[in-house]
């Protein structure tokens, strides 16, 4: 069986955000959700190149929505995580979980 794609930290963040947003995962919403969850503002350039790169790798796919006047008649590009993307994020999170085993990071002196 092929190994799942290895992911960088920002790629994991974006994939998890798309999963959280479900059907409403487009540029503005993804950026806002990342800011709310991580309290870090991702640079638009970094976000769009990451989304394009992940689409090329087959980790996400995109579809075009309907145009809206608020956006000057431009359509939103919605993203969804593919089966390959889901496998990659599950694998990455499993590795983190394995590393966390036996550590008490969320309690005691570190809390």
């Amino acid at each position: 069986m092929a190994m799942p794609e290895s992911l960088g930290e920002f790629e994991q963040t974006v994939l998890l955000t798309i999963l959280r947003l479900s059907d409403n995962a487009y540029g503005v919403a993804i950026r806002r959700e990342i800011m709310e969850c991580t309290r870090r503002e991702p640079a638009p350039g970094a976000l769009y190149t990451t989304l394009d790169r992940m689409e090329e790798k087959g980790l996400v796919r995109s579809r075009i929505g309907d145009p809206s006047p608020q956006r000057g008649g431009r359509a939103k590009r919605y993203f969804a995580v593919t089966r390959k993307g889901r496998a990659a994020i599950v694998n990455a999170q499993r590795l983190y979980r394995r590393l966390l085993e036996g550590l008490d990071l969320f309690g005691g002196a570190n809390a």
């Binding site: 503005v28 638009p44 956006r71 431009r74």
Partner: protein, 250 residues
């Protein structure tokens, strides 16, 4: 002209029209809240993030191409010519020097532009390396045989893997275009020189020619690489088919 149309037009030069429109739409959605300065600052960041590979790839191809020309000529003129009769090394020179130089321009261009994992870049790097080894050590039968076997194996195995097969075809076409582009650049340089110095062809020492020939040759090769990669190898940020794929997905 409205600023969002300008931004969309610029971005569409660097990526697909659909992607450009959706990105500018996202920026517009935030502009009322964050202001025009934020819009243009974000736009500049996106352009930089999308476009930085192209100029870097072009400059790398230009300088590595010139360096390869010098490095590959050195063993031919400096080593082989001193020890062997011309009929022994001239065929190597004739067959391999031009394509070798083209491959050493295409390889860094593709590696930077499309990434090292790209089949086109990988095959260009391997063939560039093999051509270089042959030019340096063609007179050692074992080395020559090993290089030829490796090249033959690579071609044979590539035929059975669709992506590599497309990359191989794309590289072959790009090499022909690159070589032809180099010849065209020299031909145009000759015409320009005749225009400057009517009569017998003088030694080329015009800066326009000295810089213009390699720049034009690099431009032809890199443009060929970019278009052929997009058409033959497939998915790229500037691929019009990507727009089609997005439409089909939706």
């Amino acid at each position: 002209m409205r600023s969002d149309l300008v931004a969309e037009w610029i971005l569409a030069r660097l990526t697909t029209r659909i992607r450009a429109a959706s990105v500018v739409g996202d920026l517009l959605e935030n502009r009322s809240e964050k202001g025009t300065l934020w819009f243009w600052r974000s736009f500049a960041g996106i352009v930089l993030a999308v476009a930085w590979r192209r100029p870097l790839a072009f400059v790398s191809a230009f300088y590595l191409g010139l360096h390869a020309l010098g490095a590959l000529q050195m063993p031919i003129y400096g080593v082989h010519a001193a020890h062997r009769p011309p009929e022994a090394w001239m065929p190597v020179f004739a067959v391999l020097l031009g394509p070798g130089m083209v491959l050493w321009m295409a390889a860094p261009y593709a590696a930077i532009r499309f990434g090292l994992r790209d089949s086109f870049a990988q095959i260009a790097l391997v063939f560039g390396g093999l051509v270089t080894i042959i030019i340096f050590y063609w007179w050692i039968p074992a080395v020559l045989a090993a290089c030829l076997v490796l090249a033959f194996s690579l071609i044979t195995t590539s035929i059975f893997v669709a992506r590599r097969r497309r990359a191989l075809v794309a590289l072959a076409i790009a090499t022909v275009f690159g070589f032809g582009g180099g010849l065209l650049a020299f031909y145009l340089a000759g015409l320009y020189q005749k225009h400057l110095y009517p009569g017998p062809v003088a030694e080329i020492n015009s800066p326009v020619i000295n810089w213009g020939v390699p720049l034009l040759a690099t431009w032809i090769l890199t443009t060929a690489c970019s278009h052929i990669h997009r058409l033959v190898v497939g998915h790229d940020l500037g691929d019009p088919k990507a727009d089609l794929q997005i439409k089909l997905d939706s």
